[in-house]
Amino acid sequence: MGADLVIPALAAAFGAYFFFSIADLAWEAKANGMVIGAILLILVLVQLVRIGMRLRAGDADLGFERLISPRDALPKRIGLVLITIAFIATMHWLGVTLGMLLALFASLWILGVRSRKALVLVPLAVAACVYLLFVAALQSDIPHGPVEWLLEKLLS
C-alpha cells in the first residue's frame, strides 16, 4: 500500500504549497483554489484512513512493490528517463536532430536491441523525420545544432 500513498502525498504537498502561495491574495484569486484544495485534502485524509484501516486489519503492507514491479523492467525505465533528461538538457548544443539520433540509439541499446542494422537505421529514420517535420516543414524555433547548421548551409 506504500505505493498507493505516493499520489496522495504529492497531492497533499501540492495543496499545502497552493494554500501558502495564495494566502495573501484577494478573495477572487483564491476562492476556487481554496474550495478545490480543501476538498482534495479531505479526500486524501479519507484515503489515509482507509489505508490505515487495511494496515490495522493486516490486509496490506507499506511496500512499494506495485510501483517497481516487474523488477527486470525497472533499470530500463530509469535508463529511458535519464536519457530523456540528457536529451532535453543537451538540446541547446546538439540540436534536435543529432540529439534525437544519439538519444534513440542509446535508448534502443539499453532496451536490449543489438541488431546493428536496427541500431543505425531506426535512429537515422526517426531523426530524419523529426528534422523534416520540425525544422524543414514547420520551421519551428526548436534548438538547432551542427546538423541543422550544416544542412542549412548545404541547402541554401
Partner: protein, 503 residues
C-alpha cells in the same frame, strides 16, 4: 436559403477537391501527432490562406480542422496516446479493443463515428443555423459552472472501480489546472517561481506526459502491446475486419447520432470544446447503457461516443463564430481572422451580406467529411499493424518524439521538461490505479471552472445562491443529480438479486 442555392454551394465545394484533399491529409498527420494543434498549423499556414480567395481558404481550413479532429483517435486507439484532448476519452475503450486484437475494427468505428457524427451535425446546423446561433446566448456563467460540474461528475463515474482514487486524481488535476495567474488581478499562484507557468499549465505537455510517456514506461513490461492471440489477429488482418467494423457502426447508428448532438450543443458554447464534449458523451453513453460495467474493457460504444461527439463539436464551434462573432474555440478564432482579413463582418448580418461564405463554411465541412471517409477507411487495415512493433522500439520512439512535440505549442524547452514530469506522475498514477484520465479532466476543467465560478460570484457579490437562480441552470442541476444518483440506484438494483440468491 433555397434548394437551388444549397445545391450550387455543394457543387462549388466538390469542385474544390484539389484544395480539400491535401488539407485532409495534412490534418490527419497533424491530428495523429500529439502537440500539433489545428490552430497552430493554421497560424503557420496564414500566409497561404490569406493570399488565396476566401472560399478556397475556408475550404482548406475547414477540411484540415475536421481531419484533425478525426485523426486524434488513431494513436488513442493504437498506443493509448490521444492525438488531442478531444481524443483522450477514446483511449478508455479504444486501446482495450486493440489489446484484444480488434485494432482494425476500433479504427473503423472511430472513422465512421467521426465522419457520420460530423456529417449529421453539419447538415443539422446548416438547416437550423438561425435558431442554433441563439443557444449560446442562453448559457451564461451560472449555467457554465453547472456544465463544468457535469464534467467533474465524470471523474467519479469514469473511475468507478475505485471512486476515491478517481476523485483524488481528478481534484489533484483540478488544482494543477488552477496554477498560474488569476483572471481578475493577474497575481501568480503556485507557479514554483517559473515564468512559464504564469499562463497556467499548458495542456499539450500534460496530455503527452500523462498519456504518452507514462504509457511508454508501462509498456516496457511486455514485449508487445498485444498478447499472442492479438498478434496473430493483427498479422491476419483482412478487409473483412474493416467490413466488420462497418457492420458494428451500422448496428450502433443511433448511438452515433445522439452522441454527435451532445458534441454539437457543447460545441456551440464558446470555450467548452471537444475535450469536454467527448468526456460528457462517453459518460452519458455509459450512464444510459444496459451494460455500463463493460465500459473500459473495449466496447464499441466507448469508441463511438467520444469520437462522434468530438466531431459534432466541429460544426458547433463555428456557429457562434459566424452568427455572433464570438469564436467557439481557438481554431475558430484563426478562421475568423482569415474571414475578417477578407472583409467579412461576423455576426447575424453575414448571412444576408455573404450567404455564400456563411453557409458555404458548413457545406464545405459536409463535403470534407464525405471525402474523408473514402480517404481514411482503407487505411485502417495498415494502421492497425503498428501493434506488431516490439515495445523496445515503440517506447523510446514514443517518448522522444512526443517530448519534441511538447515543444510545438508554445515553443518552450520548459514544456519538454514539464511533459517528462507529468510522465513520471502519470506512470505512478497508472501503476497505482489513480486514473490519469481523471487527472487530465481536472487539468482541462480547472481554468474554465474558475473563470465561470468567479464571474458568477462577482455578479452576485459573493452570494453562492446565484448558482440556483436560473431556470435553465436548475434543469441542469436536476440532470446533474440524476447523473450521480442513477449509477447508485443501478448498483443497488444489481446487488438486490445477489442478496436474494445468497439468502
Amino acid at each position: 436559403m433555397s434548394w437551388e442555392f444549397l445545391l450550387d454551394q455543394f457543387a462549388t465545394q466538390f469542385g474544390l477537391w484539389w484544395v480539400i484533399w491535401p488539407a485532409i491529409l495534412l490534418g490527419i498527420v497533424v491530428g495523429i501527432l500529439p502537440g500539433f494543434s489545428p490552430q497552430n498549423t493554421l497560424i503557420m499556414l496564414l500566409p497561404l490562406t490569406l493570399s488565396v480567395p476566401v472560399e478556397r481558404a475556408m475550404a482548406f481550413m475547414i477540411a484540415l480542422y475536421c481531419a484533425n479532429h478525426l485523426a486524434g483517435g488513431i494513436p488513442a486507439i493504437l498506443v493509448r496516446i490521444p492525438g488531442s484532448g478531444g481524443a483522450a476519452a477514446t483511449t478508455l475503450d479504444g486501446y482495450p479493443m486493440t489489446q484484444k486484437g480488434q485494432a482494425q475494427q476500433a479504427l473503423v468505428l472511430c472513422f465512421t463515428a467521426s465522419v457520420f457524427g460530423g456529417l449529421i451535425t453539419t447538415l443539422v446546423t446548416l438547416a437550423l443555423l438561425p435558431w442554433l446561433s441563439q443557444l449560446g446566448l442562453y448559457l451564461r456563467s451560472v449555467e457554465m459552472v453547472i456544465v463544468m460540474l457535469f464534467g467533474l461528475t465524470l471523474i467519479a463515474v469514469i473511475a468507478a472501480k475505485d471512486t476515491l482514487k478517481g476523485l483524488i486524481a481528478g481534484f489533484f488535476g483540478l488544482l494543477i489546472g488552477v496554477i498560474g495567474t488569476d483572471h481578475i488581478y493577474n497575481t501568480p499562484r503556485a507557479t514554483f517561481g517559473f515564468l512559464e507557468l504564469y499562463d497556467g499549465v499548458p495542456l499539450v505537455p500534460a496530455l503527452i506526459g500523462l498519456f504518452a510517456i507514462s504509457e511508454a514506461l508501462v509498456m516496457l513490461e511486455e514485449k508487445m502491446i498485444v498478447d499472442e492471440a492479438g498478434r496473430e489477429r493483427a498479422l491476419q488482418a483482412r478487409w473483412s475486419d474493416t467490413v466488420e467494423g462497418l457492420r458494428m457502426s451500422l448496428q450502433k447508428w443511433w448511438h452515433i447520432v445522439w452522441t454527435a448532438f451532445v458534441g454539437l450543443f457543447i460545441g456551440i458554447v464558446p470555450g467548452a470544446g471537444a475535450s469536454i464534449a467527448s468526456f460528457v458523451a462517453y459518460q452519458q453513453s455509459r450512464l444510459w447503457s444496459k451494460n455500463p460495467e463493460a465500459y473500459g474493457t473495449g466496447v464499441p460504444e466507448g469508441v463511438i461516443a467520444p469520437e462522434s461527439a468530438n466531431n459534432g463539436v466541429t460544426s458547433g464551434t463555428l456557429v457562434p463564430t459566424l452568427a455572433l462573432g464570438v469564436p467557439g474555440g481557438s481554431t475558430a478564432a484563426v478562421m475568423m481572422i482569415v474571414l475578417q482579413y477578407h472583409g467579412m463582418v461576423m455576426g447575424p448580418r453575414l448571412f444576408a451580406t455573404d450567404p455564400g461564405v456563411a453557409y458555404g463554411v458548413f457545406v464545405s465541412m459536409a463535403v470534407a467529411y464525405i471525402f474523408m471517409i473514402f480517404t481514411i477507411l482503407p487505411l485502417a487495415r495498415y494502421m492497425s499493424r503498428v501493434v506488431l512493433f516490439e515495445t523496445s522500439y515503440l517506447a523510446p520512439i514514443i517518448i522522444l518524439v512526443t517530448i519534441v512535440a511538447a515543444f510545438g505549442e508554445r515553443q518552450y524547452l520548459f514544456d519538454m521538461a514539464l511533459a517528462l514530469v507529468f510522465g513520471v506522475i502519470g506512470y505512478i498514477a497508472h501503476k497505482t490505479s489513480y486514473h490519469v484520465t481523471a487527472m487530465l479532466i481536472g487539468i482541462l476543467l480547472g481554468p474554465l471552472f474558475e473563470q465561470y465560478l468567479v464571474r458568477a460570484l462577482r455578479l452576485s457579490e459573493g452570494n453562492l445562491l446565484i448558482l440556483f437562480s436560473s431556470p435553465l441552470g436548475n434543469v441542469l442541476w436536476g440532470l446533474l443529480a440524476l447523473s450521480l444518483v442513477l449509477p447508485l440506484w443501478r448498483g443497488h438494483r444489481q446487488k438486490k438479486p445477489l442478496v436474494r440468491e445468497e439468502g
